[in-house]
């Protein structure tokens, strides 16, 4: 047990552990997405809680080749240290053809579609995963607020948010037609501050980019060309938590692809984005 300061985290952790164990039990061909960001690092940590120090499923990193270099370095270090079965996914065809936003060939949203969504789809098909664990949260933005813990995608990876299975009393939808693909979201009920509080309590290692350097820090990590640091003096986890308590700026506002149109992110998600 921890002190009263973090007691609310116990309930969040218990729920996530329960979901991870359900996922592990129900799906033989299961993988976890690891973006190297704070959320999926917490997810990885929760898996080690659930399975007593082990990570009994492969971790998939979708590498767009535009990731900030510190992220890759951090990834390779932890893979060794935590004994992780790492699978790297990349849309090599699109990269080779130069079909990206930084090359000027595509919009930001189209680039996300090819280098992240399609790359993920390719790994899932190649490895024949039935289910993928993803560290999204409801408080990130509107469409994610509508998600289920166990969320089916059809053969084309499309998400039908208008006809979602009911989810009650922790009895999740775990029976599917062949060909259906499942996203599992163990962090759905967490908030951004919860994630940082948990990082603080558990002393979870995270990539340095989140801490302020020369008055700026990254609040959300994506690709270098589309993610901008925010002004900040926070150099410790405690200071980040303090800063977030005051802010009214939304977390994904530093992610340029969301801002292209009113429903850019929604359309991206309905077609298979995380």
């Amino acid at each position: 047990m921890t002190g009263a300061k973090f007691r609310h985290l116990d309930a969040l952790e218990n729920q996530s552990v329960y979901i991870l164990r359900e996922a592990h039990r129900k799906f033989k061909r299961l993988a976890m997405l690891w973006s190297i960001g704070k959320d999926s690092s917490v997810l990885l940590w929760l898996a080690r809680k659930a399975f007593f120090g082990h990570v009994p499923m492969p971790c998939v990193h979708v590498d767009t080749s535009y990731k900030i270099p510190e992220m890759i370095q951090f990834r390779d270090e932890k893979v060794r240290e935590w004994n992780i079965d790492l699978i790297v996914g990349q849309n090599k065809a699109a990269l080779a053809a130069g079909r990206t936003f930084p090359n000027g060939a595509l919009t930001r949203v189209e680039c996300c579609g090819l280098l992240k969504k399609d790359a993920l789809q390719q790994v899932i098909e190649e490895k024949d995963y039935q289910a993928v664990i993803v560290g999204i949260r409801r408080d990130e933005e509107g469409t994610r607020a509508k998600e289920r813990y166990f969320s089916p995608r059809d053969r084309n990876f499309e998400w039908n948010f208008k006809d979602q299975p009911p989810e009650l009393w922790d009895q999740f939808k775990t029976d599917f037609d062949p060909g259906t693909h499942i996203r599992i979201h163990p962090l759905l009920h967490w908030t951004e501050i919860n994630v940082w509080e948990y990082i603080e309590r558990e002393k979870i290692p995270i990539v340095d980019l989140y801490f302020a350097k020369d008055g700026f820090r990254y609040r959300s990590l994506g690709c270098a060309p589309c993610t901008k640091p925010v002004p900040s003096q926070a150099t410790t986890v405690a200071e980040i938590i303090e800063e977030l308590r005051e802010t009214k700026v939304s977390e994904r506002s530093t992610r340029a692809q969301d801002q292209e149109s009113e429903d850019a992110f929604e359309r991206l998600r309905a077609s298979g984005y995380m």
Partner: protein, 612 residues
Amino acid sequence: MVIVGHVDHGKSTLVGRLLYETGSLPDGKFEQIQTVCRRRGMQFEWAFLMDALQAERDQNITIDVSQIWFKTRRRNYVIIDAPGHKEFLKNMVSGAASADAALLLIDAHEGIQEQSRRHAYLLSLLGIRQVVVVVNKMDLVNFDQAVFTRIEADYRDFLRQLNVQPLQFLPIAARDGVNMVTPDPRTSWYEGPTLIQMLDDLEQPVPPADLPLRFAVQDVYRFDRRRILAGRIESGTLRVGDTVVFAPSNKESVVASIEVWNAAQRSAVSAGESVGITLREQIFVERGSVGNHIDQMPIETNRFRARVFWMGDRPLSLAKKYKIKLLTQEIECQLASIDQVIDASTLEASSAIRRTVEKNEVAEVTIQSRGPLVMDNYDRLQTSGRFVLVDGNDVAGGGVIFGGVYLVHKQVKSSNITWSESHIRYRDRVERNGHPGLVVWMTGLSGSGKSTLARALEKELFERQMQAYVLDGDNMRHGLNSNLSFSPEDRVENIRRVAEVAKLMADAGVITVTSFISPYRLDRVRAREIVASSGVEFVEVYVSAPLEVCEKRDPKNLYRKARAGEIKGFTGLDAPYEIPENPELVLETSEESAEACLEQLLEFLLPRLRVD
């Protein structure tokens, strides 16, 4: 906290306003929605904050459950905005099932609507005890106290029938922020708290650590040479050194350790915690097992009663197979009977004979599973007293268990129990079958419809998972009674044997339906005495139709043969039929359809077949 109410009663507006009033909106969000509204040429729409999806903006209905966070000085809140539209009931349930408290919203102008009642009923089923009723759009009724008081009185009445004690009724106007944070002079007659004060006064429910232990096993892991039982403490407290009995196998062992990773050692864990334990003696435990303390064991049964709400597109039907999920148990099951269908908006129960429960209906049913299930009554322990039903691949219904009987479990010390101690009594058979044995004695002229009804009844009972069997002339006269003629003496003996066989079968637990002309009153009285001697109920059913009708039907060509002189002593022609004086039931088959007669039969019999 979940917010529910009839469609268009202003849920999303209320939430948008709450966020605004508590300063919980992200910078720029207010302005962003303002721009969107201006672009569409409409006045500012609070609901757009919640209805973040494009599709919703166009339809103007909250399709799914949205979750929104805000905080007051006292604490943090998660609001679940549940859709009010009837079609989206399953989403409302998904949202409400995880809530600690509920805000029920009623439009002052429109008053209490169908969904206002239905939602309240579902909240009571889902076990949400803290309910605050918000009467919105008071501006549309000029802040008239009389309107508010009338809605309060009516709705209180309704909620009382559900055993829901509303904490407060509040008059508000969400669009203008009336009584949200500060009291408003236009409702000076209202002396209660504002909405925010009210919310801050709600209690945070405490996980039930002091209730009976239920440890639901999710999985068994082997890590680093340890065999770890992983699962969640659903209620109660588990300590190292405790003796735990795992139902349904009822094997017991002692807790050797509580396993953790990157956390302090634990000697006890309690309700709500996802844990791992090791046992001192290795016993076979698997997913689905439930760990308990011996003096507080759960119910273990394969037949139980429940209130279910159905969300599936296909109706919930008798004689169809479903999967039940209860804690981590999963097993095939069937509806044994549909006892009552409850109209969730009037609370009226209809016990008309039903073979299906339709989408959005609530019913009291009896469920039979293929094997034993471990459970509790919902009013004793919530988490082990509720379940979902899976139709095909889809979670299509939820239910709560009631009326189950707890048995006193004694610790079995000796393994030398001899069989002679365990005589199987009639009561044991009744408990296993879930219904008593019974004799349904159908009497009537040849061609009156006895056999048709007997066969239809047998099928209905069988589909309700009951043991039922028809005794008729064919299966009696071809074997046991093959040495008997149709002489008056032999007819008496024929009926005596039928009665004796029916008595034995009923004593073995079977609902035995006899289909014989049995024309003599005295024979039927004797049959009743034979059956009653073993304590089994005897139901005499007179299947009545005028002779002319029976002769016209003549399904076996017997009347024609009798008229031609080929059969002598034919009942109704040259032998008498003595009409029953006090039968339990009379079915007029010439006036009513076979279906209607069958319904009368079922209506009469099903209540007699219930075990309480």
